[in-house]
């Protein structure tokens, strides 16, 4: 089974249409992205891609684009 794209995980966790999930979307701009949805997001990324995202990296994942960059650079998720 193929893993869903990162954008789809964001859409499901934040309860937003996939069309609204752009690289610019950030923690500071979306009310739905609160501390609960952030840690839910990290947990689902862990499970989906078989990772253990480091706490420091979790703290840096504050935008969709930034999350994708960290996942690619440090965890090999593309």
């Amino acid at each position: 089974m193929n893993a869903p794209p990162v954008e789809q995980i964001f859409a499901e966790v934040l309860g937003l249409p996939i069309e609204e999930i752009t690289d610019d979307l950030s923690y500071d701009t979306v009310p739905e992205w609160d501390s609960v949805s952030h840690v839910t997001l990290i947990a689902i990324l862990d499970e989906t891609f078989g990772l253990r995202i480091d706490a420091e990296d979790a703290g840096e994942m504050n935008s969709v684009g930034g999350t994708k960059r960290i996942l690619a650079a440090k965890y090999g998720v593309r």
Partner: protein
């Protein structure tokens, strides 16, 4: 529960650390003043608490002396398990008859907020103390309307908007959670994931 028993339990919580899976809640003491000031004087925190001036050590120490003279208030520092102080939280205005208590003074360092479910765990620990250990009927939280992320988190836990109020000449919303509506199970499942991943890493 009798009022005397409730007051006895409050005194007990004011004197001991409560440990969760990822955090410890340590009773606030004078040696925490520096950490409290660092947390409370962050710009976003000052806005959300309608704190117009920078809090000083003298002001905090004065508040702390008042805290020691009360018996209806429990103030904690939030520490990562075995680690650094990352926040504060409190349960106060605890009605000895068990009707209502207020949850607040909640501040979690902006970076730590994103590094793990520390905010969630501190919320659930305080609500368990309120509803289970102190048998309160209702817990209130006052939140500025602009603080959408904190409102969102409270609604996930089951808080409902009850009324508009004004504090320090600033509009706030009052949110209430009834004991019967407290359902920590979904968030505890999330906490369990983080506990398991930390144990896997430690192992």
């Amino acid at each position: 529960m009798t009022p005397d028993e409730r007051l006895r339990r409050i005194a007990d919580y004011r004197a001991r650390t409560v440990s969760g899976a990822l955090i410890d809640m340590v009773p606030m003491q004078p040696q925490h003043t520096e950490a409290v000031l660092a947390l409370r004087n962050a710009d976003d925190v000052r806005f959300n608490l309608a704190q117009t001036t920078v809090l000083t050590a003298d002001q905090h120490d004065g508040w702390y002396r008042g805290y020691l003279s009360r018996n209806d208030d429990i103030a904690w520092m939030i520490k990562r398990s075995g680690g650094d102080i990352i926040g504060t939280i409190a349960l106060y205005a605890i009605d000895p008859d068990g009707k209502t208590a207020e949850k607040g003074r909640q501040v979690v360092d902006a970076r730590a907020r994103m590094q793990g479910p520390f905010t969630v765990e501190s919320e659930l620990m305080v609500l368990r103390i309120a509803f289970e250990a102190l048998a309160m009927e209702r817990v209130l939280a006052t939140i500025r309307p602009e603080n959408v992320k904190v409102i969102s988190m409270h609604q996930r836990i089951g808080f409902r908007y009850s009324r508009a109020i004004e504090l320090r000449s600033t509009p706030y919303g009052e949110y209430a959670l009834e004991r019967r509506d407290f359902n920590p199970a979904p968030l505890e499942k999330l906490l369990q994931h983080w506990t398991d991943r930390n144990e896997r890493t430690a192992g």
